[in-house]
């Protein structure tokens, strides 16, 4: 990727005696669609609010184009925010909401008019200028909120769970829309969400956070296919997570057997964890299988069946389009590249989580 726009250096934040951010290091690039993903209380929104200038960090630096802005008030920053519940001004119509920032900057009326109108065009609401914002639907209010922020031509657009209040169908549409808008305006988007599907489908870079620590930074594919620890593996998609021992490079042992794998760089006989995604396990005849068991349950999920197979050591979750009768004896198999070896997560010292980076 091209050059860095925002750098967070050892950022920390305490609210009273609670430590919400515990040393965040992150580089955000120009024109990047970056998502902060994590469960509620993981510090993602706090990170966003520090970048916006609504919170002051307790420690560390926020560099914007190389300059520390952690003491700059929010109204002087070149970032704009789309708020979770839109925060449109109810006493202004759509046009005046969008024009708010430009009027504050005392721009020429004709320039404002031109900018506002082209922005309403971009969000697909050109005929809504005179409408009362409270009469708009959630999706329309969301678009106005995006327009109100983007019209100021910020270098970075911050989005705080903007799709949370929308219904499923609209949310999907807005995901595509947002990605399209980001490509059109060509600026950095920092998006906060707890929805992994949203994060994977829109982002260039996903930052997985938990308990104030960055767990993993990577492309959506990296995050899904090569999770670095149990937290990331279980938070992103469904998975079978198995405690295992790394015998040596390319050989991992679990469920009483040794399996070939593609991972290396661990110590010999190091305790590790293995993740196998449910769709990477194939159900075969017991005689051709690596593991054997019986079908415990099967649930139809639309595209696939969700099957639980009980083996001697554990239950495996498998996604397949085929149907297997519960009680049937089956075999399970997977290839070396379906096994992803991760560092064993040490829940005692939480800082370990970020150590894998």
């Amino acid at each position: 990727m091209n050059d860095a726009l925002i750098e967070l250096k050892n950022l920390s934040k305490n609210f009273e005696d609670q430590q919400v951010l515990k040393g965040i290091d992150l580089t955000i690039h120009r024109n990047e669609f970056l998502t902060l993903l994590g469960p509620s209380g993981c510090g993602k929104t706090t990170t966003l609010r520090i970048i916006a200038g609504f919170e002051e960090p307790s420690g560390g630096e926020v560099l914007f184009d190389g300059i520390d802005i952690s003491k700059v008030p929010s109204h002087k920053r070149e970032v704009n925010t789309v708020f979770q519940k839109y925060a449109l001004f109810p006493f202004l119509n759509v046009y005046d909401n969008v024009a708010f920032g430009l009027k504050i900057k005392k721009m020429d009326e004709t320039v404002i008019d031109h900018k506002v109108k082209s922005m309403l065009e971009l969000i697909g609401l050109p005929d809504f200028a005179k409408r009362d914002v409270t009469s708009l639907s959630g999706g329309q209010q969301q678009r106005v909120a995006i327009a109100r922020a983007l019209v100021n031509e910020p270098k970075v657009l911050l989005l705080d769970e903007p799709l949370g209040a929308l219904d499923a169908k609209l949310r999907k549409d807005m995901q595509i829309e947002l990605k399209k808008i980001q490509r059109e305006v060509g600026i950095t988007f920092i998006f906060v969400t707890h929805d992994q599907e949203e994060a994977l489908s829109m982002s260039d870079t996903v930052v997985v956070m938990n308990e104030g620590i960055i767990q993993q930074v990577g492309t959506p594919e990296d995050i899904y296919n090569e999770p670095e620890n149990r937290f990331v593996a279980s938070f992103i998609g469904e998975s079978n997570i198995i405690e295992a021992v790394m015998k040596r490079d390319l050989l991992v042992s679990f469920d009483g057997q040794d399996f070939e794998c593609v991972d290396k760089g661990f110590k010999n006989n190091e305790d590790v964890e293995v993740v196998i995604r449910p769709e990477d396990i194939d159900i075969v005849k017991p005689e051709n299988a690596k593991l054997t068991g019986t079908v415990k349950s099967i649930v139809f999920r639309g595209v696939h069946h969700e099957i639980v197979v009980e083996t001697e050591f554990r239950d495996y979750l498998i996604h397949t389009t085929d149907y297997f009768e519960p009680g049937l004896s089956v075999g399970l198999t997977f290839g070396p590249d379906d096994i992803h070896v991760m560092y064993r997560m040490d829940w005692e010292s939480e800082s370990r989580g970020g150590a894998g980076r």
């Binding site: 002087k76 925010t81 009362d132 109100r148």
Partner: protein
């Protein structure tokens, strides 16, 4: 559900007895002569035409001006007070609002007497001034005394609705304004002030209502000569004994208040329409 309807009946009876009947009586008195003697009443509009006499018009005018002055002072003081209260943490805010309302628990008469002991010629304020060698000032029986008494009396009714409306403002609206480049001053004028207008309207309505109908405060702090509509009505009923004229005055006062409320509602509506 149906048998619950019966529970409303005592309330209805009370309402009729203590609200509707007195109003009907007042209307009846205002268009008749003969005072309390309901035996031989005759209808007349004389009571209303009497109000047109310059001396009474002067009293109404004075009441209106005093009411407007008190409400204006109250609005400025009350808004600033309400705004600064919202700057504190929630628990401190509750305490401060409690402090604002405490005077309301005390009888108006007692509160007004407290002002007398402060403002009189050898009252506390003058004693304080004399410590610095300043001459004693006369406060009692002036417009100043009446206005300060009135403002202190009605201030809570201005502070509370304004405070409520400012407190209700979604903090993300304030953040949104800052995010869009507004400094503290513009955030206040463009967002906080606009969002608090409903509270201001409520406050103005309530304080206007109270200030225009007051009679205890002008009587005690303004002296016997100080005549407002409230005092005039009181006199008609208690000293002069002309209940008919007093009733007509009451009705006129009610109409003035209703017109005032109407105007404020209009103003409120226009605000809303402007926003559309």
């Amino acid at each position: 559900m149906k048998h619950y309807n019966k529970l409303v009946r005592p309330y209805l009876i009370w309402s009729i007895l203590i609200i509707l009947v007195p109003i009907i009586m007042i209307v009846l008195y205002s268009v008749t002569t003969g005072g309390n003697a309901l035996v031989n009443i005759s209808f007349t509009l004389k009571n209303f035409t009497k109000i047109g006499e310059p001396i009474y018009l002067e009293v109404i005018k004075k009441s209106l001006i005093l009411g407007l002055i008190s409400v204006s002072i109250c609005l400025v003081v009350g808004y600033i007070l309400a705004y600064f209260i919202t700057r504190f943490d929630d628990s401190v805010q509750d305490l401060l609002i409690l402090l604002v309302t405490i005077p309301m628990w005390i009888n108006t008469l007692l509160r007004t007497y407290a002002w007398i002991s402060l403002l009189s010629d050898n009252g506390l304020i003058n004693k304080f001034l004399s410590l610095f060698g300043l001459n004693a000032q006369t406060f009692m029986y002036t417009d100043f005394a009446v206005i300060i008494g009135l403002v202190s009396d009605i201030l809570p009714f201005m502070v509370i609705p304004i405070h409520t409306s400012i407190r209700k403002i979604d903090p993300s609206l304030i953040e949104a304004a800052q995010d869009l480049g507004a400094d503290k001053f513009h955030t206040f004028t463009k967002v906080t002030l606009k969002m608090s207008i409903p509270g201001v309207i409520n406050g103005v309505m309530m304080t206007f209502l109270l200030s225009i109908s007051t009679f205890v405060i002008p009587k005690l702090l303004g002296g016997g000569q100080y005549m407002l509509v409230g005092n005039l009505i009181e006199n008609q009923f208690i000293s002069v004994g002309n209940w008919n004229f007093g009733s007509a005055l009451s009705i006129i006062l009610t109409i003035i208040i209703l017109i005032g409320l109407r105007l404020m509602k209009r103003f409120d509506k226009e605000e809303k329409e402007e926003a559309e």
